[in-house]
Subunit: 340 residues, 2 copies
């Protein structure tokens, strides 16, 4: 029985070369999948690496390649918002899954306020990361634009507001709102209200548009509309507003599920039953919130899958900075409330 790894870390390429009986260069070539290596030599090196548990030294590699092996995960949003939103959890999980087997570091970067944003910009400019993953739904953020201008590889989750030469992934909000409306129609509801999101954000716009268009497609007049800002709390206000308006409705589509949770609470406070009196469908930005108490039918985003795609896109872009801009729009899925 031999200890496979010494407690002393410093295995080097040289050591592997010695074990494999080749030169350092050959080891390096194998490590980087450089073409011109004989299968025999390649195998020799492979097993030497296997046997010693060797892992290349990031710093040394960085020094010569000018790459850091890290990518930034920038969250330019109020923390409380982000972390109370499990959407972020799934993003991180997806990104991590892609990044970990590659030995790439996912560096957490927060930019809550202007001061933090300035610091962050300075930091990113200094080449501390090879690329940046933006997980921010607030589209007014100037950071992506600046970084793109500086030619730092950048990808976004969520369609950017204005024309920006940057790849992104997004959920098909229009289709999602359509799913919600169709579900409500199937339930026989004909007076369908909505709590829409902010209209200066693409997600807010699209979900309202999807709502309106789907109703129109079925020849049904839309019910009352109130607006929130996607956050917890704003849904309650909007819900109160809808109820106060006096306009009757028997179905409700809520453009975010944090707002939907509020809506449910307010409906209950007003002694309205769900779904008997009002059938509610929420747009699911946050998986866990509804998992906890699955009282809500939701339009669910494949967030984790989206995160993986996003991360892979960034890595591609880092490899080839002149890769074409891509955008992938994922279809959401209707998840019915538990029959409880």
């Amino acid at each position: 029985m031999v200890r496979p790894t010494d407690s002393t870390q410093p295995r080097t390429i040289k050591e592997i070369a010695a074990v494999a009986g080749v030169s350092k260069s050959t080891v390096s070539r194998v490590l980087n999948d450089t073409p011109g290596v004989s299968p025999k030599a390649r195998e020799l090196v492979r097993s030497a690496i296997e046997a010693t548990g060797y892992q290349p030294n990031r710093a040394a590699r960085s020094l010569v390649t000018r790459a850091t092996g890290s990518i930034g995960l920038v969250v330019s949003e109020a923390h409380a918002r982000i972390f109370s939103d499990p959407f972020f959890a799934s993003m991180v999980r997806g990104a991590t899954q892609v990044v970990r087997p590659l030995g790439i570091h996912l560096v957490l970067m927060l930019a809550e306020d202007q001061r933090a944003r300035d610091q962050l910009l300075e930091y990113l400019r200094h080449g501390h990361v090879d690329g940046v993953l933006f997980v921010s739904t607030h589209a007014a953020d100037p950071l992506p634009r600046i970084l793109v201008a500086e030619r730092l590889p950048v990808v976004l989750s969520g369609r950017p507001v204005s024309r920006l030469q940057v790849s992104y992934v997004d959920v098909d909000s229009v289709a999602g709102a359509g799913l919600a409306v169709e579900h409500l129609l199937e339930l026989g509801r004909r007076r369908i209200a909505t709590i829409a999101g902010p209209q200066d954000m693409p997600a807010g716009q699209d979900r309202l548009r999807g709502f309106t268009e789907a109703l129109a497609a079925h020849g049904v007049r839309p019910g009352p509309v109130a607006y929130g800002d996607f956050d917890r709390g704003s849904g309650a206000r909007a819900m109160e507003e809808l109820l106060a308006s006096g306009a009757p409705f028997d179905g409700l589509f809520v453009a975010s599920d944090l707002m939907a949770l509020d809506a449910l609470a307010v409906l209950r406070e007003h002694a309205l039953r769900v779904p008997e009196d009002v059938a509610v469908v929420g747009f699911d930005d946050s998986v866990a919130a509804t998992q906890a108490r699955p009282a809500l039918t939701t339009v669910r985003q494949p967030v984790e899958e989206m995160a993986k795609a996003l991360t892979l896109t960034l890595l591609d872009r880092i490899k080839d900075p002149d890769a074409p801009i891509t955008s992938r729009v994922f279809p959401p899925k209707l998840v019915r409330r538990a029959s409880t």
Copy 2:
């Protein structure tokens, strides 16, 4: 008007040396605050750095110092749990504030399941980070113990279950529960129930103990007790249990505020008014949840401050691995519900 920074990044120590009219060594000494440098030379270098916007190359530095300039933020817990818990938000904010001005990377590492944990362990063993910040309240996690054994600097948020030679910060849960009880007593409540946390976790134990002891100190008999696991959902079950038990109560202390939110919802479902029928105090692990709808009196942790302390402790430990083990216990604060 001169552009302070070229678009080309690669400023080096050599360049600074040339500008300042000294040798590379002197620049390096200034950079690292090495004693033996004349004030004049130091000033020369300082201004050269200032003028050029120079930042040392991490990789080159790493290569020779054998330090990475990164610390890991390990979250060994189900994502959904963590990210639905704004406690984590404040932890990250605090850590970031300490780390950013120092140019240290906060690398996000998730260890949801066993497979991920194994991978992570391997990763950490390979010296990818200089130290590890554990933000995990689950104390059964074997990772800290293993890493401590491997002599990797480690600090914990939350007291570890068993004896472990590791520094930590924690909130004074006993005192916090006491605050809750005293508040309820001041409100004139005498039949005080509790939804306690899991008794295999220090926080769960301490909060129940604080509850019991505070009541005893005031000569009041404790009301019924039900148990949850701190998570959303478990609070609802516990609340139902309390109500089903038939034991009367007019006050309630809930050991986590996710459970407290559940409790509020269930009370409302049962047409019980808060605080008229039952006065509720939650233990606040998550600031934002209660900020959103401040319907709850809570015992609040100074999470951000704790995170700063934790991070500083880790940095100290990295500097001096033989530094004494420390533990800091922070006092929580009672935050009354809005008068709405």
